[in-house]
């Protein structure tokens, strides 16, 4: 870390998000301006002080003849990225920061899930990356639901879900790992502002176009396990997580089953959520 500290940093900022303090320093003030678009919802600037995670960004600048200049990203003393593509560096920053906040957030339980609001209740779609979570969330929004998140369901101790309305991260056709950010308004939707109790949990994975969604209902216990599988602080705060999940499943229906096209599944989901 000392070696890193000696590199010479010209700009730095401290932020706080869901109770997690983190800092970012760079050798180029412009990079700090640029990274604001990668900060998670609910992040605000904070007074300088001790942080839980310190990001260090060194931009390589223009490549010379025969010389490749790498952009470097560190989290504390660990190198997270070494790339000639600056955007890739910022995406890595965003992804690591989101996970840091999701794991360290106080008084909130983060589940990896898409969330929409429908008629005063939230619909949760837990799932790993590449499970079609964002696609289904986008279709639910197109069908009239209010957008909460395509990344995390942020639950309070009462089991209510709070908005985490970042732009949707849409993958290009063909399932590329690279994502582009799309504002919810582009899907004809709007972002939520208030927390909601959970009414429906949809445990589902895309299994091909011909698959019709015929879910089965899960018991409260099995529903809790299905949610636990996507709870970021499951190992670090299991008692709190289980208590929160219990509140969710006591007030919600949990459905599980493979699905086909997102548009068809979205219609069925909203019918059941009504």
């Amino acid at each position: 870390m000392r070696k890193l500290d000696r590199l010479g940093w010209t700009a730095g900022l401290t932020f706080k998000s869901f109770g997690v303090r983190f800092g970012v320093r760079s050798d180029d003030p412009r990079s700090l301006e640029h990274l604001t678009q990668y900060l998670p919802p609910g992040t605000r600037e904070a007074a300088p002080g001790v942080v839980e995670r310190l990001y260090s960004i060194r931009l390589g600048g223009e490549a010379g003849r025969g010389v490749r200049r790498f952009n470097l990203l560190y989290a504390n003393h660990v190198r997270l990225a070494r790339t000639t593509d600056a955007e890739e560096l910022f995406e890595r920053f965003e992804s690591d920061l989101q996970l840091t906040i999701a794991e360290g957030a106080r008084r909130r339980v983060f589940l990896h899930a898409g969330v929409v609001g429908w008629r005063g209740r939230a619909v949760l779609v837990p799932g790993r990356s590449f499970s079609g979570k964002t696609t289904l969330t986008a279709e639910l929004v197109r069908a009239g639901a209010t957008y909460y998140s395509d990344e995390y369901a942020v639950l309070d101790r009462e089991g209510r879900v709070h908005p985490y309305a970042k732009p949707l991260s849409v993958r290009d056709e063909g399932g590329s790992a690279r994502q582009r950010k799309v504002a919810v308004e582009e899907f004809g939707g709007r972002g939520a502002t208030k927390p909601l109790p959970v009414g429906l949990v949809v445990v589902s994975e895309y299994k091909g176009g011909g698959t019709h969604w015929r879910p089965r209902s899960l018991s409260m216990g099995r529903g809790s396990l299905a949610l636990l599988e996507h709870a970021v602080p499951a190992r670090t705060r299991p008692a709190e997580v289980l208590e929160t999940l219990e509140k969710v499943v006591r007030g919600a229906i949990v459905l599980s089953g493979a699905r086909g096209e997102a548009a068809e599944a979205a219609r069925s989901i909203l019918e059941r959520a009504s």
Binding site: R128, G221, R222, L225, R235, P238
Partner: protein
Amino acid sequence: MAERTVPANPLARVDGVVVRELPDEVLIYDLDTHKAVCLNSTAAEVWRLCDGRRTASDIRKMLEKSAKGAVPEELVWLALEQLDKDKLLVERVSRPAALVGVSRREMIRKVGLGAAIALPVVVSLIAPTAAQAGGSGCVATGGACNVGGDCCSNSCLNNVCA
């Protein structure tokens, strides 16, 4: 199945676990192994009755009393062995001589014919690490892989994630 030697006065493990009681189930989280277990009503009832003094036969009688009907001893053993497997008992339990060598399938068949209560069911999962839950439990494009399922893209070509 190999015969075990420890006498069967099962004692439910209460240290190092987080327990949540649901209306018809019990959720147990093992803080050592990070395994979360869901017991259905029958398995939960057996688990609650494991106080270290009662034998399997005593537990069967208690179950018969609450179910108001016959409960075969095999059902208790099915539950105990599942609890044992998930390390929810303080000590391992051993079947009585009459049941040694009887397959689990045979026991289920017998229980299914004569029980007044549901078969014990225990479902478990290993809790994810933060990275796994956060969606990065898969290998990104360009990373090494063996099968498609290793990759976020679900596509592994020549041991590299597409």
